[in-house]
């Protein structure tokens, strides 16, 4: 087996090609062979890496050293210095100052994982979550104090809008704008809600924040409440997250004791009461209107929208709903300013993202990295490569509401805009990395099984559609599918998207579109040849 110790990437966006990227690639190939390194160093053309001031770029991992602009005459020296002798070829490095976007942070922090940039996980795993002193020592409640005593709601919205913070609950809605909507909505009584239902399979980032740094969420909710004009708030925490609930309850008591919650906070006339509500145990309760119904004591079924919660939320009052990770960004942004925040990640979706890495990689776990990192980087740097040296086939992002991202998109920056341009979704932050032993039909079937079970049943297209899609996929995986089934699948997927009442039904057909678009041959092999190319499906000849 080949043991790859280094990875060399060559940018190949149009400008890089124009500046000789192909020549550089060929020269690299030649030099690696003549130094006898071609078995331990991999070489790849990677498309657009998001930086164009020094094209073509040559990036060497795991050190994440960026060279550019590289000419073919430079390649001999580069290979000899860096890959043969193991020293950075300083004279060829790309200018550091002008670095922008995601690559800037790749070698930012020595000694820890290269690109890791902790904002929302800054304290998790560092402090005692049960100690409010620990939180205060690490700048806790300062942003709230400043906001309450020295900032108008407008200034808070401006700062958040300028920071470019977008919701981390799935949809990526601009946070400052949402806050402003609730502020502008008419009504004396308003609510703030932290959505901590986190039921996407494979996602546990919110739990980690709640368990490791509970006060950061309480502080953010308090800031939000002051800004939008609410004096009551809820933390809707997934039922199974017993420890998180316990820690949040304790933190609320501590915050009350210190006067951060309760009446006349910081000597002003601002009052705030926070409650913990244990989740009802259904995936759909994470959808914000179902969540609101659930708090009201009803069945967790999504409401028809509009009107949106920002005007008609809990008990019909204007309500702000934000995800845990979104809220965790608020205090750091107010403390350090919008410009600081914009320093991380790409322009259109700045900041960091927390991902849970799962699946066929050597190391699984949780990372916080600047927006715009690529799957290739995640797998190579944090996953420490694919397990057993297998080949990367696809990643399933964001639990069920995410997308199936094929290997061909592994160099696409993971941020809201780049991903939506490529027709995939970032989802909630799970990255299920799958190797080439994964069958796409089986994967889609597993996802649809989840959707059909979690569909709340309120509207027909979703209740019946998810079941039907599941049945067809099952038949295909048993070797009894037909080409008509494929047409039906595509129609059902469209109907789900267009006719469903909420996000669950609307995205339930996405896996179908993804696999038919990217892996049509593999799907058709199940139908035409009655063969599962990966040998995963049972192909037993049964039919539902």
């Amino acid at each position: 087996m080949k043991a790859i110790r280094s990875m060399v990437l060559v940018s190949s966006d149009p400008k890089s090609i124009e500046n000789g990227a192909n020549d550089v690639y060929q020269a690299l190939q030649h030099e690696l062979t003549s130094f006898g390194l071609d078995n331990e160093v991999s070489l790849t053309m990677v498309g657009d890496v998001g930086r164009h001031d020094a094209s073509p770029l040559v990036i060497v991992y795991p050190e994440a050293v960026i060279y550019g602009p590289v000419k073919k005459e430079d390649v001999h020296f580069l290979v000899e210095e860096h890959l043969y002798k193991g020293r950075v070829a300083v004279s060829l490095q790309a200018p550091v100052r002008e670095l922008s976007g995601r690559i800037a942070w790749l070698s930012a922090r020595k000694g820890t994982l290269p690109a890791e940039q902790r904002i929302v996980l800054e304290r998790a795993g560092e402090i005692d979550p049960d100690s409010i002193d620990d939180y205060i020592i690490r700048d806790g409640y300062q942003a709230f104090a400043t906001a309450l005593t020295a900032m108008t709601p407008d200034q808070i919205f401006d700062t958040l809008e300028k920071s470019g913070l977008r919701g981390r609950g799935g949809a990526g809605f601009p946070t400052g704008t949402k806050w402003r909507f609730v502020y502008k909505a008419k009504g004396e009584k308003k609510y703030v809600i932290c959505n901590a239902d986190e039921s996407e399979p494979g996602t546990f980032k919110d739990r980690l924040i709640l368990e490791g740094d509970p006060h950061s969420i309480i502080e953010a909710l308090a800031i939000a409440a002051y800004a939008v004009g609410a004096n009551e708030g809820y933390l809707y925490i997934r039922g199974e997250y017993v420890l998180a609930q316990e820690r949040i309850r304790k933190a609320i008591l501590q915050a009350k004791g210190m006067g951060f919650l309760g009446r006349n906070i910081f000597g002003t006339d601002f009052n705030l009461e926070l409650h913990v509500h244990a989740g009802a145990g259904a995936y759909i309760c994470g959808e914000e209107t179902a969540l609101i119904e659930s708090i009201e004591g009803k069945r967790g079924e999504p409401r028809a929208r509009p009107p949106y919660p920002t005007t008609h939320g809990l008990w019909g009052k204007p309500t702000l709903v934000n995800n845990v990770e979104t809220l965790a960004n608020v205090a750091p942004i107010l403390r350090n300013g919008a410009d600081w925040y914009r320093g991380f990640g790409p322009k259109s979706s700045p900041g960091t993202k927390v991902y849970t890495i799962l699946g066929n990689v050597n190391v699984t776990g949780l990372i916080e990295v600047p927006m715009g990192i690529t799957l290739r980087e995640v797998i190579a740097i944090y996953g420490k490569g694919m397990k057993n040296g297998k080949t990367f086939k696809l990643a399933q992002t964001g639990g069920s509401s995410g997308s199936i991202v094929p290997a061909t998109l592994q160099d696409t920056p993971m941020d809201f805009d780049s991903f939506s341009k490529a027709g995939v979704a970032l989802g909630s932050g799970a990255l299920l990395i799958c190797d080439d032993d994964t069958c796409v039909v089986d994967l889609a079937r597993v996802l649809l099984n989840f959707f059909r079970k979690e569909s709340c049943g309120k509207c027909n297209p979703c209740r019946i559609g998810t079941q039907r899609v599941y049945e067809i996929l099952t038949n295909i995986s048993e070797g009894t599918g037909s080409l008509n089934d494929l047409t039906d699948l595509m129609n059902l997927s469209d109907n789900l998207y267009q006719l469903s009442n909420c996000g669950l039904g609307q995205t339930a057909g996405a896996p179908i579109r993804d696999i038919v678009f990217h892996y049509r041959a593999e799907v058709e092999a199940h139908i035409r040849l009655k063969v599962c190319p990966t040998g995963v499906c049972s192909m037993s000849g049964k039919r539902i």
Partner: protein, 122 residues
């Protein structure tokens, strides 16, 4: 404790908490920190914690503060235990069973020798 009424109050409370912490560090206090997120607990952190507390009591060790923290993101290596002696850098251990915890208490905390076999780099 009286409630905090202004940013100045908050800064004062922060200074006091900091002083308390620094005092501990400069007096050479040993801090033993156990990762107690759900992942840690599922991997057996409660047993690890218990074995640490038992050992401290049984051997009448003093000057050791045992605290908990959340998950640091390497759930695979849980239970995670960190040792900070005075102002020295933090040492992180992974997959710490009750027995390994005892060994760390004896060798690292007791004799200042880092147990390199179980150390992880983060």
């Amino acid at each position: 404790m009286s409630t905090i009424k202004s940013l100045e109050d908050l800064k004062r409370v922060r200074e006091e908490a900091l002083k308390k912490r620094d005092l501990k560090a400069s007096s050479g206090t040993v801090q033993v920190i156990v990762g107690m997120g759900t992942c840690g607990i599922a991997a057996g952190a409660r047993d690890t914690m218990k074995s640490i507390l038992d050992t401290i009591e049984k051997d009448s060790l003093s000057g050791i503060i045992v605290t908990q923290t959340g998950c640091i993101g390497i759930c695979e290596k849980e239970p995670i235990l960190q040792v900070v002696i005075g102002e020295a850098a933090k040492v992180t251990y992974g997959k710490v069973t009750p027995d390994i915890a005892k060994k760390i208490l004896k060798e690292h905390v007791g004799n200042g020798k880092v147990v390199t076999d179980h150390m992880i780099n983060i």
